[in-house]
C-alpha cells in the first residue's frame, strides 16, 4: 500500500494543473453529452489531444497523442479535471467505443479514415446494438442485412441509440447470416445516418426527457465492405467494446460527488425550522451511504492498481456495475427523501431545487441499473464467472426460431 503517487507522477500532476490554469478561458461550459459537439468543444478537444489530455494513448498517425499507456497518468488527468471542474475530452460513443474497436479489429485503411475525425469531434457516431426484442439477450437481435449485389439491404429496428439525432455515422450489429447459430450470424456494419431509409425517433423515458432514440431501417443500402472485422463475427467485435461501456457505469467518484452534494443540501435545507442534518434517521442513512461510497472508492483504487499491474481481478472486477449503480440510486433516494415534498417538484416548478436533478437521477439511475446488463444479468455473471457456479440448464424444448420472432 502506498497511496502517494511518487515524484514523476506529482510532476505530471503539476503539469496538468498548470494547463488547466493557463487554458481555463478556452474551455467550453460542458462537453455536451449526446449532442453534436459545438465549435468551442471541438477546439477544446484539439487542444486536449495536443497536450495529451485526450486520446492520450492513441497513435499520433491516427490523430492521437501517442503516449504509452499509463493508467496512473490517466487517473491524474481525470482527478485534476474533476477537481478544477473543467470538462475533459469528448467521451461520446465514437470516441469511447468505436475507436477502441477499430484500433483492435479495424483494417489499416479503416483506422486511417475514421479515427482522426472521430477524435477531433468532426464525425459523431451512434451505436446500434439493442433492439426492442433483444435486451438482456442481445445476441438474439433480428435486424437483417440481406445481400443485394455488393450491398446489404438493412431492415429492422434499433433502440437506446443515445446519439442518433446528431450522429453522422452508426456502428451497428446486423444479422447477415440468417442460417448461422445466433452468435455467429451477426456482422458489425458502419454507415452514414443520412443513408436513405433511416428514420430516427426520439425515445422519451420516465424522466420525461428523450435521452435516447429509436432508429428504424427500411431497405437501408450498405456496401458489403463497410464491415469491421469479419462477416459473421460482429458479436465478437462488439464484445471487445462492451467491456468499455460496463466500466463506465458506476463511477465511484461520481458517488463521492453526490454524497458531498447531499451533505451540503442536508446542512442547508430545513423542515420545521430544523436542519435536515439534525434528523437522526436521515443522518444515519447518510453515514451508511458514506460507508458504501468510501468502500467503492477504495475498491476502485484496488482495481486500478491491479490493472496497472496487469493482474486479473476476478470477482472483484465483476461487481462494480451492480454495486455502483445501486449505490448511486440509493444516494438519489436519500436526497429525495430528505427533501420530502420539495423533493417531488420537477420540471421547472416553483421551489424546485437544483433543477430537479435528484428526481431525474433517481429515475435515470434506475435506467442505468437496467441498461448495460440488468441487475439479474450482473448477478448471473458474478455467480458464473466470479464464483464458478453452473449456468442454468437449457430448457427441454428450445424453439429458437419461434421464440426469437415473438421476443
Amino acid at each position: 500500500m502506498d497511496l502517494s503517487y511518487g515524484p514523476e507522477y506529482e510532476a505530471f500532476r503539476a503539469e496538468v494543473q498548470k494547463f488547466l490554469i493557463d487554458f481555463k478561458d478556452q474551455a467550453p461550459r460542458g462537453i455536451g453529452g449526446t449532442g453534436r459537439p459545438a465549435a468551442e468543444t471541438i477546439h477544446w478537444q484539439k487542444l486536449l489531444i495536443e497536450h495529451g489530455y485526450a486520446a492520450r494513448t492513441i497513435p499520433k498517425e491516427y490523430g492521437g497523442y501517442g503516449a504509452e499507456p499509463d493508467i496512473l497518468k490517466s487517473r491524474i488527468i481525470s482527478e485534476e479535471f474533476t477537481a478544477a471542474q473543467m470538462p475533459g475530452g469528448i467521451a461520446n460513443q465514437g470516441v469511447s467505443m468505436f475507436v477502441p474497436t477499430l484500433l483492435e479489429l479495424g483494417t489499416e485503411e479503416q483506422k486511417q479514415k475514421w479515427i482522426r475525425p472521430t477524435l477531433n469531434g468532426d464525425i459523431v457516431w451512434c451505436q446500434g446494438y439493442s433492439e426492442p426484442g433483444s435486451g438482456s439477450d442481445l445476441a438474439s437481435l433480428q435486424t437483417k442485412g440481406t445481400e443485394d449485389g455488393d450491398d446489404f439491404l438493412v431492415n429492422g429496428q434499433k433502440i437506446w441509440t443515445s446519439t442518433a439525432k446528431s450522429a453522422d455515422m452508426m456502428f451497428c450489429l446486423v444479422r447477415t447470416e440468417p442460417d448461422a447459430p445466433k452468435h455467429k450470424g451477426i456482422s458489425y456494419l458502419i454507415f452514414p445516418m443520412d443513408t436513405p431509409g433511416i428514420e430516427v425517433r426520439p425515445l422519451v423515458t420516465m424522466t420525461g426527457n428523450a435521452e435516447f432514440n429509436e432508429v428504424f431501417f427500411t431497405d437501408v443500402r450498405v456496401p458489403q465492405n463497410q464491415i469491421i472485422g469479419e462477416r459473421g463475427q460482429g458479436w465478437f467485435v462488439a464484445n471487445a467494446t462492451l467491456g468499455h461501456e460496463r466500466g463506465m457505469l458506476g463511477d465511484p467518484n461520481a458517488a463521492g460527488s453526490r454524497l458531498a452534494e447531499i451533505t451540503q443540501m442536508m446542512m442547508e435545507e430545513t423542515v420545521d425550522g430544523e436542519r435536515l442534518m439534525d434528523n437522526p434517521f436521515l443522518r444515519d442513512r447518510l453515514v451508511k451511504l458514506q460507508s458504501r461510497v468510501l468502500t467503492m472508492q477504495y475498491h476502485g483504487m484496488r482495481l486500478l492498481t491491479a490493472r496497472v499491474k496487469k493482474e486479473s481481478t476476478g470477482v472483484a472486477g465483476l461487481i462494480v456495475k451492480l454495486q455502483g449503480c445501486d449505490l448511486n440510486h440509493d444516494l438519489a433516494a436519500l436526497a429525495i427523501d430528505a427533501m420530502g415534498e420539495i423533493g417531488v417538484l420537477y420540471d421547472g416548478s416553483p421551489m424546485e431545487r437544483s433543477r430537479g436533478k435528484w428526481q431525474w437521477r433517481y429515475m435515470f439511475d434506475l435506467g442505468l441499473i437496467i441498461g448495460g446488463g440488468t441487475a439479474q444479468i450482473q448477478k448471473n455473471i458474478i455467480s458464473e464467472r466470479g464464483l464458478d457456479m453452473p449456468r442454468e440448464p437449457k430448457p427441454v424444448k428450445p424453439a429458437p426460431a419461434d421464440a426469437a420472432k415473438s421476443a
Binding site: T270, S349, I369
Partner: protein, 360 residues
C-alpha cells in the same frame, strides 16, 4: 367478527374501478399529464355521476355519508388507475373538515355544492406535517396571512380549508382578495399541488381545532396509503403480465426464477398491506383508540413497500419500464409523491413513537 368488505363496499369499489378502467385509460392520463396538471374533465364528470364527490357529505346536505373505509376503497382504485382527478382533498378531506368543523351556515353554504361536484376544496395543512421554507399561515381576527405549501387538490379549488400555525382551521374562498395561488409541478402530473400566498384574506372559522386537524391528517394518510396500495398492485399486475409475454433466451422471462421471485416478493410485501389499510380506515370511524396509530402505520409502511414495488416492477419491465412507452412511470411517480405528502415515513414513524410514549 368479520374482517372483510361488505357487499355494498365491494360494489362501490367495483363500480368506481370499472368506470375508471374504461374512462381513465392510459391515453386519458397521458393527455392530462402532458397538458401539465389539469384534471381529466370527462372523468371528473363521470365520477360526479357515480356520486364520488358526495361520498363524505352528510345525508342532510345531499351526500352519501360514507365512512373512511369506503373512501379508502375508492382511493385505492384511484391509485390503481392513476386517476387524473381531484379526490383526496376535494372529495374527502375538504368535506370532512366542513362537516366536522363548520357552522350550520357554512355547511349549508358549501356541502351541497361539494356533493354535486359543483365546487372543489383545496386543503392546506402541510405545515403540520413538516413546514418547509418556514412557511405557515397566521390568523389575526378573521384574516389569514402567510404561505402554505403543497396544497392538496389546490389547482382547481374554489374554496380552501386552511390550517393556521396554531392548529386552527379556516375556510376561505379562492377568489377572495389577497389570495394568490401558485401551481407547483411535481413528478406526478395526474394530481394538482399548489402553494397559496395569503395577504389578510377574509376567512370563516372551522371549529374543533386541533382535533379536527389531526383527524384530517390521519384520514389523508390513510388515503395516500390506499392510493399506493392500488398503484402498487397495478404495477405488480403489469410486471407479471409483462413477464409472461416478454421472451429472452428463448423463454418468457417470467419463467426465470429471479424474475419470479421479484414478483413474489412484491406480492408478499404488498398484499398484507391491504388488511392494514382496511383496518386503519375502519379505525378512523369505529376505533378511536387505534385511529392515529394505524393511520400512521398505514402511511409509513405503504410508503416503504410502495417504493420497493415501484422500483421492482420497473426492473421487471427492463428497458421498456424505463421508457415512456408503456406509461408505467405514471404509477411509479404517483407512489413517489404519495410517500412524501403529509409526512414522509421517517417523520411519521417518529410521530408514532411519540404517540406511544416511546419518544419524548
Amino acid at each position: 367478527m368479520e374482517f372483510a368488505l361488505s357487499e355494498e363496499q365491494k360494489m362501490l369499489q367495483d363500480s368506481v374501478g370499472r368506470y375508471l378502467e374504461t374512462a381513465c385509460s392510459l391515453d386519458v392520463v397521458r393527455g392530462v399529464a402532458e397538458k401539465s396538471g389539469l384534471q381529466a374533465d370527462d372523468v371528473w364528470s363521470g365520477l360526479i355521476d357515480l356520486g364520488v364527490p358526495s361520498m363524505m357529505v352528510p345525508e342532510a346536505y345531499g351526500g352519501m355519508a360514507f365512512g373512511m373505509l369506503e373512501a379508502a376503497l375508492v382511493s385505492e382504485v384511484m391509485g390503481r388507475h392513476v386517476a387524473a382527478v381531484p379526490f383526496i382533498g376535494a372529495c374527502v378531506l375538504g368535506p370532512l373538515a366542513i362537516a366536522r368543523g363548520g357552522s350550520d351556515a357554512l355547511k349549508e353554504a358549501w356541502l351541497p355544492k361539494i356533493a354535486t361536484g359543483a365546487i372543489r376544496v383545496g386543503v392546506a395543512l402541510s405545515e403540520h406535517t413538516g413546514a418547509r421554507e418556514d412557511a405557515g399561515i397566521t390568523a389575526e381576527g378573521d384574516r389569514l396571512s402567510g404561505r402554505s405549501l403543497f396544497v392538496i387538490d389546490g389547482g382547481m379549488a374554489d374554496i380552501f380549508v386552511v390550517a393556521d400555525t396554531q392548529g386552527g382551521l379556516h375556510l376561505i374562498e379562492a377568489g377572495a382578495e389577497g389570495v394568490e395561488t401558485i401551481a407547483l409541478t411535481s413528478i406526478d402530473r395526474t394530481r394538482s399541488l399548489s402553494e397559496i400566498r395569503l395577504t389578510k384574506v377574509v376567512s370563516q372559522p372551522l371549529d374543533g381545532g386541533e382535533d379536527v386537524l389531526a383527524s384530517l391528517i390521519d384520514a389523508g394518510r390513510v388515503l395516500y396509503a390506499a392510493d399506493t396500495l392500488g398503484a402498487g398492485w397495478a404495477m405488480i399486475d403489469k410486471a407479471v403480465a409483462y413477464a409472461k409475454e416478454r421472451k429472452q433466451f428463448n423463454r418468457v422471462i417470467g419463467s426465470f426464477q429471479s424474475v419470479k421471485h421479484m414478483c413474489a416478493e412484491m406480492a408478499a410485501e404488498l398484499e398484507p398491506c391491504r388488511s392494514l389499510i382496511w383496518y386503519a380506515a375502519y379505525a378512523q370511524d369505529a376505533l378511536p383508540d387505534d385511529a392515529r396509530l394505524t393511520a400512521g402505520h398505514a402511511k409509513s409502511h405503504l410508503s416503504e413497500v410502495g417504493r420497493f414495488v415501484a422500483r421492482t416492477s420497473t426492473e421487471v419491465h427492463g428497458g421498456m419500464g424505463f421508457t415512456d412507452l408503456l406509461g408505467l412511470h405514471y404509477w411509479f411517480k404517483r407512489i413517489g409523491v404519495n410517500r412524501q405528502i403529509l409526512g414522509g415515513p421517517e417523520r411519521v414513524r417518529e410521530e408514532l413513537a411519540k404517540l406511544q410514549g416511546w419518544a419524548a
